[in-house]
């Protein structure tokens, strides 16, 4: 077995419990939110009134929160789920190099015949794996329980102007697309933490910069939507493509590649900077 696999395997093994807890926690939040659909669907349309709430709930044009897919998007997949996956991603991205470096475990590993390159790629792979596992558990959890909450059934929707239409129930495909786009956001944020941690070896800096990136991006996006000012700045926010595109409702777009590109860039830059610097102690 290659050393990269051994390092990856050990890192995953050390995170068995936390991966399980995060996966179960995220899934419980999703299932608990889904359980409110029967009682909220009749009033869900009113939640999106006002530009602030509309922005927070990701209620762009054509998104009706009283439909099964619109409800899941507005009340979980556009906010709670990506936030949780971002938090997980940032925690993992910070731990992958800077966290272990701060704990002193990275230095001992590097006393063995392994290269920094092997560690950099093994840890990045570990971060992706945990995020994917948590996303899959969430997908399965929501897919299995959603029939209990009428989310899999077609429903008749009455618009504000009184017209009625039939909305299809949520499918596993919808959950997959919603989960995939949320996973991409989590990965992008985790990659920022990874990059800063690999470049500096400082856990606090990695955590702070990546969290700031996530929170400031969200605040910036919401404020710009509400006020109409500084709209151009929202291009620097990961939420712009994520919420504007509402992929769970409208389908996948190429914009999902932005966080993937951010992750790939962070890996390459972080790896190169990690190769060139002193380990912190």
């Amino acid at each position: 077995m290659s050393r990269t696999w051994l390092i990856y395997g050990r890192w995953m093994r050390d995170r068995r419990r936390s991966t399980l807890l995060w996966s179960v926690g995220i899934t419980l939040v999703s299932v608990a939110t889904a359980a409110f659909y029967p009682s909220l669907r009749s009033t869900a349309q009113s939640f999106g009134e006002g530009s602030t709430m509309s922005s927070v709930l990701g209620l762009g044009e054509g998104v009706d929160p009283s439909t099964p897919v619109g409800f899941l998007w507005a009340f979980n997949y556009s906010n709670q789920l990506p936030w949780l996956l971002m938090a997980l991603g940032i925690a993992l991205g910070t731990a992958s190099i800077a966290g272990d470096e701060g704990d002193g475990t990275l230095e001992y590993l590097l006393a063995k015949p392994v290269t920094r390159t092997e560690i950099a790629f093994a840890r990045f792979g570990g971060m992706i794996t945990v995020l994917v596992v948590a996303s899959i558990v969430n997908l399965v959890g929501v897919a299995v329980t959603m029939p209990l909450f009428d989310l899999a059934d077609s429903t008749t929707v009455t618009a504000l102007d009184g017209t009625t239409s039939t909305a299809a129930g949520a499918t596993v495909g919808d959950l997959f697309v919603g989960g995939l786009s949320a996973l991409a956001v989590g990965l992008g944020s985790g990659a920022v933490a990874y990059l800063v941690g690999a470049a500096t070896g400082r856990r606090g800096v990695a955590l702070g910069v990546a969290s700031g990136f996530a929170v400031a991006g969200y605040v910036l996006y919401t404020l710009a939507n509400v006020t109409g000012d500084y709209e151009w700045l929202t291009w620097f926010s990961p939420w712009r493509w994520f919420i504007d595109d509402a992929m769970m409702v409208d389908g996948l777009t190429l914009d999902i590649l932005w966080p993937v590109l951010l992750a790939a860039g962070s890996l390459l830059v972080g790896w190169q900077l990690f190769l060139r610097r002193d380990l912190q102690r």
Binding site: M1, R3, L6, I7, R10, D14, D103, G104, T105, E107, Y108, L109, L110, A111, K112, P113, V114, T115, D278, L279, R281
Partner: protein, 296 residues
């Protein structure tokens, strides 16, 4: 063959110079003790040898190559001053994991080390005491039959029996041709295992001496025993004698030159016993750092 070689090795962080133009050479099969006060630059030197940190200038060569080369590190057994392993890893998992990464250890060798050090194989690392963690570190450092051992405070936290076991292990590895580079504040350890000692002070190599040289040195202190309490002024006219003290039938003096005249005078006075105190490593350590501030 030179196993460790440092040429004008320097490490600076801003204005702070941790290691300053260090020249060092350790031969194959030698046990070299690198001593100094806390913050003197010992661990920084070790970290440069292993490529954890890069020199600001100068060169560090290990086993004929660079510590950056995994092939070189495969031949090194390392014990850091503070061993940190993943919290949940057990002793047996650590042996398996690090053994898989490096040279595959001989199982009989591992079993022997575990037994001699009394290492706990089943408890997670974070539940182990300081001494037990040290045992894990020693097993991991010695198990791959390394050609070079870099040991930072190896006996810190070990009881006297295990300290003795450690000394035996070093002697055995040396007998197999391994080179040992260690730091320690336990002078008795160093005196037992080292062939040569380097004292580093504020990043400089202040002094280097072999243990053979050390053993040949005496402090200049002579203790004479007489049948009856001697006169403290009896050695006043003997050249180079100072610090004469009498305690009962014992007279202690310090001679800073040839002892012939002292011995002649002692015989004349009817001395029945004589002892000289050998200079110990601790004396040299204390002399070297006598005028230094407590700790940087």
């Amino acid at each position: 063959m030179t196993v460790i070689e440092a040429v004008a090795l320097t490490k600076k962080w801003g204005d702070f110079v941790a290691v300053d133009s260090l020249d060092l050479s350790v031969a194959e099969g030698e046990c070299y003790a690198f001593l100094g006060r806390n913050g003197a630059g010992k661990s920084t030197t070790a970290r440069m040898l292993l490529d954890f940190i890069r020199p600001s200038s100068g060169v560090a060569r290990v086993l004929g190559g660079s510590g950056r080369d995994p092939g070189v590190r495969a031949r090194i057994g390392y014990l850091p001053g503070d061993l940190d392993l993943p919290k949940s890893i057990t002793g047996s998992e650590a042996i398996h994991y690090f053994g898989s990464i490096g040279r595959t250890p001989d199982q009989a060798e591992v079993d022997g080390l575990v037994e001699r050090l009394g290492m706990n194989l089943d408890r997670p690392f974070h539940q182990l005491s300081t001494g037990s963690r040290r045992k894990v570190g020693l097993v991991l450092a010695f198990m791959n039959d390394p050609e070079l051992l870099i040991l930072d405070e190896p006996t810190s936290g070990l009881d006297p029996v295990l300290q003795e076991t450690f000394r035996d292990l070093v002697a055995e590895r040396k007998a197999r041709g391994a080179t040992v580079w260690l730091t320690s504040h336990v002078m008795s350890d160093v005196e037992h295992v080292a062939d040569r000692v380097g004292l580093i002070d504020e990043g400089h190599l202040a002094q280097e001496l072999s243990m053979d040289e050390l053993r040949r040195q005496t402090t200049g202190e002579i203790k004479l025993t007489f049948p009856t309490p001697p006169d403290p002024t009896a050695f006043d006219r003997v050249p180079d004698v100072s610090e004469v003290h009498v305690d009962g039938v014992e007279l202690t003096l310090h001679v800073d030159g040839p002892v012939t005249a002292v011995l002649a005078r002692a015989a004349e006075l009817g001395a029945v016993g004589i002892r000289t105190r050998q200079r110990e490593l601790e004396d040299i350590f204390l002399e070297t750092y006598a005028d230094r501030e407590p700790e940087r």
